[in-house]
């Protein structure tokens, strides 16, 4: 069997297994509160559920849709099935996968990229699950150390620490793309501090700007290559 046919079959099966896994995952997750209710003798209050769910859905369904549209192309097939069931996309899975792709020089859209993305997300998910499970086992002795006030500033700033490292890597890679989105986002957040809490939504215009500039630069490079 040639490489292309093999990879097409692999991808086809990825979709089948991925869908089956997510369907089972959804059933388990929605069933879990009811099983807990059976054991505790206290089933969920469905009136309160709908009231709470309506508020949550207003914010989180559009956010889930945006995440799906933006991150699926980055993650590829296997990566997205895993990432959407294991979570922590922006703060962990996406940067982790981009880092792995950078290290292995996998070109976006290639079979290598699909493999690296799946390996990276899976390794990340397994690591997180194991660390949290070990942590839960050790929760009592660890709690005073990890939640000590001295270490609190470190864990309160995990996200800026992550984005500092990534800013250096990515700003360097696309120096011509950086200036405008960075300037616009900074001016927006300084002029309207209320936007800071909605950084998840700011990613959309910021990303759109960066992709637009990237497209113009890419077109220019293609033109140059053709004329040469």
């Amino acid at each position: 069997m040639d490489k292309k046919t093999f990879f097409e079959q692999y991808n086809q099966r990825t979709h089948t297994y991925g869908r089956a896994g997510l369907i089972i995952g959804i059933i388990l997750m929605l069933g879990c509160p009811f099983v807990m209710g059976l054991i505790l003798g206290a089933m969920p209050d469905l009136g309160a559920f709908w009231k709470g769910f309506a508020q949550v859905a207003l914010v989180y369904i559009p956010s889930c849709a945006v995440e799906f549209l933006i991150y699926t192309p980055m993650l590829g097939a296997g990566g997205s099935y895993l990432a959407f069931i294991t979570g922590n996309l922006i703060n962990m899975k996406i940067p982790c996968m981009m880092n792995a792709k950078g290290i292995t020089d996998a070109e976006a859209g290639s079979p290598e990229s699909e493999i690296v993305s799946t390996l990276s997300i899976a390794a990340s998910a397994v690591t997180t699950t194991v660390v949290i499970a070990l942590g839960v086992l050790l929760l009592i002795p660890l709690q005073p150390i990890l939640s000590s006030p001295v270490l609190a500033p470190a864990f309160d700033n995990v996200v800026p620490a992550l984005f500092g490292a990534l800013a250096y890597q990515y700003f360097r890679k696309g120096i011509k793309i950086v200036a405008i989105p960075l300037m616009v986002m900074t001016v927006l957040c300084v002029a309207m501090p209320s936007l800071i809490g909605s950084v998840g939504f700011l990613i959309i215009p910021s990303g759109a700007m960066a992709i637009g500039i990237g497209y113009v630069l890419w077109k220019r490079d293609i033109k140059k290559e053709v004329t040469e």
Binding site: G52, S124, A165, P193
Partner: protein, 245 residues
């Protein structure tokens, strides 16, 4: 038995543990398949190993911060539910806010252990689960179609002989994401005077520059696997030092 003891009882651990085990098994299954497929299409095993090791080291530190999230929520929701929610799909900011919304919907003054009842607990668990599954639902129905549609223009572009736009778009999207966060840290500083995120960001970026220098100019390629986690650690250590000053 108190509500907290009920929330921390063995059956609750077992229910959550089964779901976590399922997701762990699914991740391992996908990892083994991808590894085998990588070898079958002729990828270098060193490359595959680097993808895995870099991802494991990259994830270690953020995982500890997620564990802290479990600790943070364990006082009001017990250990098993936060363990489940932060291992499967969840993220701390989402879980905390949704649990609070659900608690208020059932009539509590907020996510508060002193007012918690078993019914409130199972209702909160249901709202948390139902609110977060939509990325999975969209993936089940549209992932295949969406990806195959995206691949068409990419193929057309590369067939002209130029570099694919996919690469540029991914880097650009990520630059946009980082730019939004950097902007928010500058805004946080100017509006509240909280300079900590900016200090951490700067130290972490500087550490990354040092790692890159040794990796690229001195040929220490193995450092690539630890550069992000190491830079984060430097940034976080700077936060502890800055808070002490």
């Amino acid at each position: 038995m108190s509500v907290l003891s009920q929330m921390n009882s063995l059956p609750m651990y077992l229910i959550c543990g089964v779901i976590i085990l399922f997701v762990l098994a699914m991740s391992l299954f996908f990892m083994v398949r991808a590894w085998r497929a990588g070898i079958a299409i002729g990828m270098d095993q060193t490359k595959l190993r680097r993808a895995v090791t870099s991802s494991v080291t990259f994830t270690l530190l953020p995982s500890i911060s997620i564990l802290l999230g479990v600790i943070a929520l364990s006082g009001s929701l017990g250990v098993p539910l936060p363990w489940l929610r932060l291992s499967v799909i969840g993220a701390l900011h989402y879980e905390t806010s949704v649990a609070d919304i659900a608690a208020r919907a059932i009539g509590l003054s907020g996510l508060n252990i002193s007012e918690m009842t078993p019914t409130a607990y199972t209702t909160i668990a249901l709202v948390m689960s139902a609110g977060i599954i939509w990325g999975m639902v969209l993936t089940i129905f549209f992932n295949k179609r969406y990806l195959s549609r995206l691949q068409k223009p990419k193929n057309a572009a590369t067939s002209k002989g130029g570099k694919g736009f996919g690469d540029v778009a991914m880097t650009a999207m990520f630059i946009g994401l980082v730019a939004a966060y950097v902007g928010s840290y500058v805004g946080t500083f100017t509006s509240t005077g909280n300079y900590m995120p900016l200090i951490v960001l700067a130290v972490s970026a500087a550490a990354m520059a040092v790692f890159t220098y040794f990796s690229e100019k001195r040929g220490q390629l193995w450092l690539d696997n630890f550069s992000v986690a190491g830079s984060m650690l430097c940034g976080m250590a700077a936060a502890v030092l800055a808070a002490l000053v």
